[in-house]
Symmetry: C2
Subunit: 199 residues, 2 copies
Amino acid sequence: MARRGALKANLLVAAQRAMAEHGTSVRLNQIASEAGVTAGAVLYHYPNMQELLFEANQSGMARFHDMRLQALVGISDPAARLIQTIRTGVPEGPEDPDVRLLCALGGEAARNNLYALLLTSLFDRQVSMYQGILEMGVASGAFDLRQDSMTIARNLVALEDAYGYRMMAKHPTLGYESAVELILEYARLATGHPLPLEK
Amino acid sequence: MARRGALKANLLVAAQRAMAEHGTSVRLNQIASEAGVTAGAVLYHYPNMQELLFEANQSGMARFHDMRLQALVGISDPAARLIQTIRTGVPEGPEDPDVRLLCALGGEAARNNLYALLLTSLFDRQVSMYQGILEMGVASGAFDLRQDSMTIARNLVALEDAYGYRMMAKHPTLGYESAVELILEYARLATGHPLPLEK
DNA sequence: AAATTTCCTGAATTGTGATTTAAGAACTCC
DNA sequence: GGAGTTCTTAAATCACAATTCAGGAAATTT
């Protein structure tokens, strides 16, 4: 056996993986098997599964958001920050586990207020992130915004979300690069900056 | 008893309603109860539920798309057509049954190729619809496109989709009017047309 | 309106999955 | 290394949902 309390922490990521694979109707046994234990062991730590699923999603979203912030450290040029943020907002492929998790929740949010709150809060945080970058670009003179920073930021997050769904559904002509390019096209128009893609 | 074969047709809309309410994990009994019959009656017409659900979604999507085309008849001005199309692409509220159905499917598409195909095809049809309007506006001189018509069309559909999800999740400050306005803002930028909102 | 076919119900069947529980294994502390 | 605690398992239980089926009701045909 590993250290005490080790499983409880692992269960969050196991639940994330299981839910990314099986959706909101994920079974307790699938989570258990993902964690390499039996159902009873899962119930020992989380007497009801709903709480585990909620925490798993919460932590999955937090990780997704933190990763994106992390990818910005060391980049000070607003244009480069904007490009980088767009790049980390699109799933790498139809298997991207973080985005799968988010998409699985999308439909559930219509009838589960907790999930709705989680997704709404993630959306707003991402809008703030973009808004910060846009305002920074305005201050530095790099961007010449053609719309409210709030409008642009919301539309950027919306585009990310939607192309994430399209990629999850394996759209035949919408891969990572084209999704990024589509979003960048809007960003160029809205910021008046050429936002060159080459690294 | 009603006319012969009456229930079979009703089952499609009953399944749509049940699925809009309960999501992809909708129960046979919920569909039956929505149709006012017992589970056995449903199985009599659709020996396996998957087929019913698939047809229900297919028909739900077709209706959604046809409604939007229908809302365009009699409108010849490209700008008015574009505005109208955007208006019918956003759900009226968190209860909009058509969009609920679509959102419920979004997450499922990641692991169900049939649903993925359905959603991808709907996306592409909507892109074509927008593209036609944009090209018409170019031809008439009303629009001065700042990007490919394909790029604009894809981004418009993507924005619709994403704000649909946000509204399903009851975002506190993103209602019908603001979502329409956000999408219109992008459309204005991309077409060079003021796209006035007042009817 | 009798015969025939189609349609629907309610009970029984079967399968699946969450949850409980008793027992045993693994860890920690002393 | 032994006592006590924490953790995990496997089997049993409970609940629920899909499916089957025999019988009867409703429509249609003749």
